[in-house]
Amino acid sequence: MHELGIVFHVMDTLDDVAKDNGLTQIQSVTLEIGEVSTVVGDYLIDCWQWAAKKRPLFENSKLLVQTLEAVTHCDGCGKDYGTVAHGRICPYCGSEKTWLIKGNELNIKEISAI
């Protein structure tokens, strides 16, 4: 499970954050996930709920997921377009010389904790 590995990485990172900031209980964690990051938000939440029970710092914590739109740039005509709707081929000029500007993110945005 791809998502489980990601959950472990998020929790490991936040263990350090908690230590540095004297936090004892994390209540919620907000992740930003790009539309084409290959990570499925619902699976992440399922994995989170399972893993949180095993780590006191995260007990009863909630994972919140914010989706970031994916945008592709076309070198053929210079325009930007929505990646999910049109894929790799530019809807304006048909060029395949396109690259992803954003949408591949997987970031820990913020946490609330005591």
Partner: protein, 224 residues
């Protein structure tokens, strides 16, 4: 009641792993150990290719192999039969290895005098591409029956690999596999990718692959 704090983290989930991987790579470099991260789908012939490569290189380089799988030790046993140092890593259900697991594996292998360690990652074209293991180089095996369009379907894997081995060339006449198209698609994802068509079964192309790998190891050690 204690006050709830909101902390902005603004950090990629992969940031810690990337930092651990960079540290491991530097450490391996200073010890003169070249770590090759070998990835592919299940059944592409990773273990057979490794057996061939080891046969060609084992008199010239000290080789160790780490086999990563969710379960079983069949691959490690096959590799151990070639006479090189081999260990099996179990990922405990996870679909990939990360830098911390790779470091743990290396400690288990005790690479001391080894020149080349090959990490046979979990058979999967998605997750292993996202986690930097700390390897000197990423390599993947695509086999003819999988089709020449895989670089289009799994772009990240082909983007992160410096080298692509195209295996099972001996069965190409039975499949609609177009090597030119495959090469074009791989270079769309990574223009610098080196491509080695081979047949691990017949041995075709293995010498060229072995010669490249040996040169890589020598360059890696020489840059110290």
């Amino acid at each position: 009641m204690e006050k709830v704090k909101i902390l902005e983290i603004k950090q990629s989930v992969f940031a810690n792993n990337d930092a651990q991987a960079a540290a491991l790579r530097e450490e391996l470099k200073s010890k003169g150990i070249y770590l090759l991260n070998l990835m592919s789908s299940p059944g592409s012939g990773k273990t057979t290719t490794l057996t061939q490569l080891i046969g060609t290189l084992k008199d010239e380089l000290q080789i160790g192999v780490m086999e990563a799988d969710i379960d079983s030790d069949v691959d490690a046993k096959t590799i151990a039969a070639t006479g090189v140092k081999a260990i099996q890593l179990h990922t405990g259900g996870m679909c990939h290895l990360d830098a911390a697991m790779t470091r743990q594996g290396l400690e288990g292998l005790d690479p001391g005098e080894l020149d080349l360690v090959i990490l046979e990652n979990v058979g999967n074209l998605v997750c292993p591409a996202e986690f930097d293991t700390g390897a000197s180089s990423n390599c993947m095996i695509l086999s003819v029956p999988e089709g020449h369009d895989k670089p289009l379907k799994y772009p990240l894997m082909f983007q992160v690999c410096d080298t692509v081995i195209i295996n099972k060339m001996d069965v190409q006449p039975y499949f609609d596999f177009d090597l030119d198209k495959c090469t074009e698609y791989i270079h769309m994802r990574n223009p610098k990718a080196r491509i080695f068509p081979i047949s691990a079964k017949t041995g075709e192309g293995v010498d060229a692959l072995a010669a490249w790998l040996k040169a890589e190891v020598i360059t890696w050690k020489g840059e110290n």
